[in-house]
Symmetry: C2
Subunit: 348 residues, 2 copies
DNA sequence: CTGAAAGCGCTTACAG
DNA sequence: CTGAAAGCGCTTACAG
């Protein structure tokens, strides 16, 4: 019988079924080498007793875990929740449990959480979210992940990191270039880039893409201000105000992610700045809401859910000698927030 | 030294520090009763070795887990990701890990996941997402949770369930009544309710709130069609088309959640139906994007992150004899998607 | 303050 | 096909 405080154990099931604990274990695990009738009997008793195998005992004895870990900046952020959703769907179908943790973009916190996941002996860790341009910032995390990997753990990251692991790489540079080319093709020349912290590889790569497009168009870099702020909606709001204050002649704002673009749109709307009539706005990521904004947000679509799935797929593969690099395909999505530059703006 | 496949164990640390495994354990856990200098020495060696305690061994031996479980319908859905975010923030500050699972609104899947969480011996389970009006649907989950609780697990739910557990209760009925009263106060009489499946308590309660407001206003229930569909953006899109087809005289659409409202807005926008000029639209929940829509969505604000936090708080408390019921406060948020009914519509 | 030892609930060679 | 036994890596009374 189940004791009040711990529930029935395997030995209770074994006794009820009149078999050894070894046989009961095999029957429950579906391991071959048990007479089918016996296995069935065991399972019947397990069911009756409400037996639920203790994962900790099982993992400790068996040596492999059926849980994977996901590290995100902020699960409330659609970018990450869509990644989590795709990853979770795959985990589910593989019978894996998922442990999620928040870092709040804090490297210290990330480190602590990686250690916790390692302590849980999860089968794999997926780190989502931007890396840092400076390898030194990631060095402690790298060390921790290497230790984890050395003890049999698997790791994959989403984005460009210096972690030495398998990686899913979104086309940040190409995508940003495509967005910028689109805006340039509409005749815009007075651009402002609204950017997150360039210490992040995601930001740096997108910035590089924009610059490449500018260079191709023969526009001096100095002609295009880059306004930096938090890589969030609020950061976008702040930047939008600065655009209006400091660069009133601007005809197009290139925000380096949708969050910032959404912040810009909200300010422009509040202040009666017409989009795209007066200023065109672009984002990056294509979070689910981008299509529902009004005007719809022109942006670069990243298949977040798929990226989450791919990252877990990589992490579940046998480790390779060289880290794998999985390139993701994105796509420019043109919606209502961009339009040809006004004729009078050309005269400025 | 760490073996290649498992990493250093406590015994390796103990040896390195020249103490017993018991002392090493106490030092690492911070349990009192170890000479501070010794404790420090142990931790120094642990650090050098890169020792990370095995959570499974620790949980098995110690008997208590530092992990909690969260069951949601879909983590990619902002409603749930915001709940998860609040809950995760609290979990973090309590030093708890979080295991998340998806049910896809499937009771079978929910049951399976509850069992998995129980197998993990998580300290608490939080079930987010609507309950079912029919207690029979929840009976298996209830049985499973009771078993889990009997073996020392703690449970809290968000929403009205028949699970016999502590619950965080959003003001679905009052909120929907407030929304309906607001729309009625604007002079609208030709309403349509766009609803999810009424087998869900969330839907049933919101519907009840709308009906109460209608009754107060002396409007016969039969005058207000209720269009049912999936409780999602797509469900809202479908319903919006039906509104236009089957009830072209409609001046206000009350969607029972933001997702459906957003779906309605997208269809109206595509078809050139002015909101709120021609039709006013309301939602429920106030997901983060509601304010960024254009027009902004009039809706009923639920503090999702806070609800997640409260649910975990309840689950972490000592169990009470009677299930606790924590009522959440919400708030009507009037934005641009609702306006006074057009004078000509009054003549219809 | 410290250590030897039992025990947490399983899995898995190893023998039959 | 089945079982006795060792062992997974810890914690925690229990003795000192």
């Amino acid at each position: 019988m189940a004791t009040k405080e711990t529930g029935p154990r395997l030995i209770d099931v074994a006794r009820a079924a009149g078999v050894s604990i070894a046989t009961a274990s095999r029957a429950m695990a579906g391991t071959p080498g048990v007479r089918p009738a016996v296995a069935e009997l065991v399972r019947k008793h397990a069911d009756e007793l409400g037996y639920v195998a203790n994962v900790h005992a099982r993992t400790l004895a068996g040596g492999h875990s059926r849980t994977v870990g996901l590290v995100v900046h902020e699960i409330g952020d659609p970018y990450f929740s869509e990644i989590a959703s795709g990853l979770l769907r795959l985990a589910d179908s593989e019978g894996l449990s998922l442990q999620i943790c928040h870092t709040g973009r804090d490297p210290e916190s990330e480190l602590r959480h990686i250690r916790t996941l390692a302590a849980h002996r999860v089968a794999a860790i997926v780190v989502a979210g931007s890396g840092f341009v400076d390898p030194a910032v990631e060095a402690p995390a790298r060390r921790e992940l290497e230790r984890y990997a050395a003890s049999g753990g698997r790791v994959a990251v989403i984005g460009r990191h210096h972690l030495g692991t398998d990686a899913v790489l979104p086309p940040n540079e190409d995508g940003a270039r495509a967005v910028a080319e689109h805006v340039l093709s509409l005749g815009h020349r007075r651009l402002v880039v609204v950017s997150g912290a360039p210490v992040l590889t995601t930001v740096a790569d997108r910035l590089a893409g924009v610059r490449a497009a500018l260079a191709d168009a023969g526009i001096p870099e100095g002609d295009v201000p880059v306004l930096e702020g938090p890589f969030t909606r609020d950061g976008g709001r702040e930047a939008a105000r600065r655009v209006l204050d400091e660069h009133p002649e601007t005809t197009a704002v290139l925000a380096l992610n949708d969050d910032m673009a959404i912040g810009c749109l909200s300010v422009f709307r509040e202040l009666g700045v017409a989009v795209p009539g007066q200023i065109s706005v672009t984002g990056f990521d294509d979070v689910a809401v981008a299509v529902d904004l009004n005007p719809g947000l022109t942006t670069y679509h990243l298949p977040m859910a798929q990226m989450g799935e791919e990252a877990l797929t990589l992490a579940l593969k046998e480790p390779s000698v060289r880290p794998r690099r999985q390139l993701t395909r994105g796509e420019l999505v043109v919606r209502g927030s961009t339009a040809a530059v006004r004729a009078d703006a050309l005269l400025l």
